[in-house]
């Protein structure tokens, strides 16, 4: 008995020992920078000029008086509304489709996944060329169908949905694979029982499939939310936050303030606010999924 307890203790220590490198990595490269950033947010700080004085909550007070921050958060919220439901719904549909035992679905799955492993900078540049109003292929096709040319990225109304659409195309494959993995884990006997009880396909989907993949759904929803709030590459490559700040999402705004306007302390304080917002949104989303399923 004594030996067994000692053995358990030893394996516990061994497990901790194995976890130490990963924990150190998190501590040094994740948590310490967050604490450093939190401290810096109370200073007037610039990367070039260094710490120029303690200003307490000054940066935080400025945030909520800064119309540019509020405008940028508004843009981010709109982007979130375009992006997250599109990714989740499309991932569900595609995940269901490519899980069917049909020939060619493996190939289709690979095709949908390819954008995930390509560089976002490269695909953004390619999409920029395709969507060019005057010489882009998409507009040439539209014109051949007798439709007017659309300045996708040059119009304040269409620029943000267009960037969101490109991001959905780029990232949906990852969420789809998560859904496929979830679907594979659903016990087939549940479906058989439901069929025997005469349940309709819709009923089966609603009452069995969705609840059984709720963890995967929660994951892709939170993942997509994080991506929506942290979108940067397509904005920088395609629109530069324009036209007229229509695509000035919060991370792009923070980058500009920190690197191009030399106000890193203020940029960091905006990042801290964003972190709090993301934590709150993630907690709400997790609670919603727990309540529903």
């Amino acid at each position: 008995m004594k030996t067994r307890i000692q053995g358990n203790k030893a394996s516990k220590y061994l497990l901790i020992l194995f976890a130490v490198p990963a924990l150190l990595n998190f501590l040094v490269f994740r948590y310490l920078p967050i604490f450093w950033a939190l401290r810096t947010s109370f200073y007037d700080y610039s990367l070039l000029a260094g710490f120029r004085g303690f200003i307490g909550l000054g940066n935080y007070v400025t945030i909520f008086q800064d119309s540019a921050f509020l405008q940028s958060m508004g843009v981010t919220l709109r982007y979130f509304l375009y992006y997250v439901p599109s990714v989740v719904i499309l991932a569900l549909i595609l995940g269901m489709f490519v899980s069917l035992p049909k020939p060619g679905v493996g190939f289709l799955r690979a095709i949908i996944f390819i954008p995930v492993v390509t560089s976002f900078v490269v695909v953004s540049i390619v999409w920029g060329m395709l969507l060019n109003k005057d010489v882009g292929m998409v507009n040439a096709i539209l014109q051949n169908f007798g439709l007017p040319r659309i300045p996708f990225l040059m119009n304040t109304k269409t620029a943000l949905p267009t960037v969101a659409l490109i991001s959905v195309w780029k990232n949906v494959g990852y969420s789809m694979i998560i859904i496929v993995a979830g679907l594979k884990g659903v016990d087939k006997s549940l479906y058989e029982s439901a069929y025997l009880d005469g349940a309709s396909s819709l009923r089966i989907y609603w009452s069995i499939t969705l609840p059984m993949i709720s963890r995967q759904l929660m994951f892709i929803t939170i993942w997509a939310t994080l991506q929506a709030f942290q979108s940067f590459v397509p904005i920088q490559t395609l629109t530069g936050g324009g036209p007229n700040k229509a695509t000035n999402v919060i991370v792009y705004h923070i980058y500009n303030i920190g690197f191009n306007f030399g106000r890193m302390g203020y940029a960091i304080s905006m990042s801290i606010v964003l972190l709090v917002i993301l934590l709150l949104v993630s907690i709400i989303q997790m609670k919603m999924f727990k309540r529903d399923y």
Partner: protein
């Protein structure tokens, strides 16, 4: 057997270690300790070849005085270079030299990132480079860094398209902009909309990236020399209101927008290699057009003329400068390298591989392409001397250029209230520059 093998291995290792230590000890008695200087620069394969040769020759000058100096290059894409320099300073990394874009010299000098080199360059040495380069490399009357290259722009054109449109290619004078100017009439002649659908297959004028370097001259050219529009920013370097949005400048911005939406002689969005791809008849650009033509479109029939203008002919000058970081621990070696690289002897390699307009006056005066009156590069030098001006003198250039880019994108997107847009951005530029108040005193 195993034990003896192990012993043998140990002996071999020990001998090799001693041998290494011995060679180190030997080398340390032969000359100065090796020094490595790190250079943060733009990622450019042609420039990399030039620096390979520059470093090789640098190590042989003055009887091998700098043979112990190694030069390492940390390269970044253009868009990442400025943040990379900023990061290098913030993290106190061991970068010794950074390539600084002309207009950013003041920004880095103001923030004490780069060293004042005034004491290390005599008045005679400063004559090595064009006066514009000295202005661009200076801040508050002090010299911070010699130039790597220079730049100026011309209006490059497709000779065949000009001839088909009946435009006289022998006249190299710039066309006047405005609703009644000859620029619009000629751009209209050059614009081709075969199917009449309102989207031309060939635009008379090209569209490039929305940066101050290209389009900052629009407002400036609209003013007389010395006027607010021409200056673009007040003499204090931080007031844009009343300058960027001067009435003549607004008129010029409006016309640029009209070229896209009203006259349809110009695309709203940037198109890569637009003229070479046959999608525009002209391209307002630096002499690097010649390099692109030689490398990628050798059969393209291209020539150049002076750029279009409103009231005052103007083109922006300025390119990369060498800046020695305040934090360097190898100042003497870094200075020697910078002096050599920027000298005629070093700059000739940059010309050899990169083929960009040298900042070294003696050098470009000895290159046939710049001397031959028939060559477009000769016209480039003439225009550079006649109308070349550095970009605006402000330590807030990065802030200004970021906002200018936003402004230009919105203008090209068809923003209806052009005057309101210009005033809004002038106010934002002024606000963002206030942190530099008193910088030039």
């Amino acid at each position: 057997m195993k034990r003896s093998l192990l012993c043998l291995l140990m002996i071999v290792l020990a001998v090799s270690l001693f041998a290494q230590g011995g060679s180190e000890a030997k080398s340390s008695t032969q000359g100065p300790k090796p020094v490595t200087i790190r250079v943060l620069k733009i990622d450019d394969p042609l420039e990399a070849m030039a620096f390979r040769d520059i470093v090789a020759e640098f190590r042989t000058i003055e009887n091998g005085k700098y043979a112990h100096v190694n030069v390492e290059f940390d390269v970044k894409p253009f868009a990442e270079l400025f943040p990379a320099i900023t990061r290098a300073v913030a993290t106190k990394s061991d970068v010794d030299i950074a390539m600084v874009d002309g207009p950013n010299v003041r920004h880095f000098a103001f923030n004490k990132v780069i060293k004042d080199l005034s004491a290390h360059f005599s008045a005679e040495e400063l004559k090595t480079w064009a006066p514009q380069s000295i202005v661009e490399g200076s801040y508050a009357g002090k010299f911070y860094g010699p130039p790597l290259v220079q730049s100026a722009q011309l209006l490059w054109y497709n000779v065949d398209m000009f001839e088909q449109a009946g435009i006289d290619t022998s006249n190299k004078d710039g066309w006047k902009l405005g609703p009644n100017g000859d620029a619009l009439a000629n751009f209209q002649k050059l614009t081709i909309d075969k199917d009449g659908d309102g989207t031309p297959e060939v635009f008379g004028a090209n569209t490039d990236g929305p940066w101050d370097y290209f389009y900052g001259v629009v407002g400036r050219s609209a003013g007389e020399k010395g006027s607010n529009a021409y200056k673009l920013v007040a003499d204090d370097g931080i007031t844009f209101t009343g300058y960027f949005d001067a009435p003549e400048a607004i008129e010029a911005y409006q016309f640029q927008q009209d070229m896209v939406y009203k006259y349809k002689v110009k695309s709203a969005q940037e198109i890569t290699n637009q003229m070479f791809a046959g999608l525009s008849a002209t391209h307002f650009y630096q002499d690097m057009m010649i390099g692109t033509q030689k490398d990628l479109f050798p059969d393209f029939n291209m020539d150049a003329m002076e750029p279009t203008y409103w009231t005052t002919p103007i083109c922006h000058t300025g390119s990369w400068h060498y800046g020695i970081l305040e934090s360097t621990k190898n100042f003497d070696e870094a200075l020697a390298f910078v002096k050599f690289a920027a000298s005629d002897a070093g700059a000739k390699y940059v010309w050899k591989y990169k083929n960009q307009f040298p900042a070294n006056v003696n050098l470009y005066n000895t290159i046939d392409e710049f001397v031959d009156p028939e060559n477009p590069r000769h016209l480039l030098v003439q225009y550079f001397q006649k109308a070349g001006v550095p970009r605006i003198a402000t330590p807030a250039y990065t802030e200004y250029n970021t906002l200018f880019t936003e402004f230009w994108r919105s203008l090209m997107a068809g923003e209806k209230d052009v005057a309101g847009l210009a005033k809004k951005y002038a106010a934002e530029m002024t606000k963002s520059a206030q942190q530099y108040k008193g910088w030039n005193k």
